[in-house]
Symmetry: C2
Subunit: 83 residues, 2 copies
């Protein structure tokens, strides 16, 4: 039961930035976004990957690798669309 | 060593939404923010609290309780400032 809740929780937190990325690509508006938030989140999920590799926990590695991908893309779009 | 990296990773991902909340309060602008992102993230961190309670893991409970607080506040400000 814990494992199911853990997987659901990890999937939701990993997927959460995807709608934000889609909105930014669609509307080309990043004015209200905090670049510090994106950078701190990128650092955090990158460290989770290191943690996952050290503990050989694949669900942690995969879900956070996905988050790094989404957040790195968001950061690139932030730099492109920021006035 | 793993535990230190885990704590650092958890602290960073928990703190990441704080600069976003501060920016929103300061600038009263939520136009570029995705409400779906906030809602999915809220659901995810809430489930992490359930997971932490089931496993009696206090670091998970505390860091995600902090995230729920920040994200719930962000959601309230989103509703207030959204045109």
């Amino acid at each position: 039961m814990e494992i199911l809740i853990g997987i659901a929780a990890g999937t939701l937190t990993s997927l959460s930035m995807l709608p934000q990325l889609i909105k930014v690509i669609k509307e080309k508006d990043v004015q209200a976004l905090s670049p510090v938030m994106i950078l701190v989140l990128l650092a955090g999920v990158s460290l989770w990957i290191v943690y996952g590799i050290m503990k050989s926990e694949w669900p942690i590695i995969i879900s956070n690798a996905f988050s790094v991908l989404v957040n790195a893309t968001l950061l690139i779009y932030y730099c492109i669309f920021k006035e």
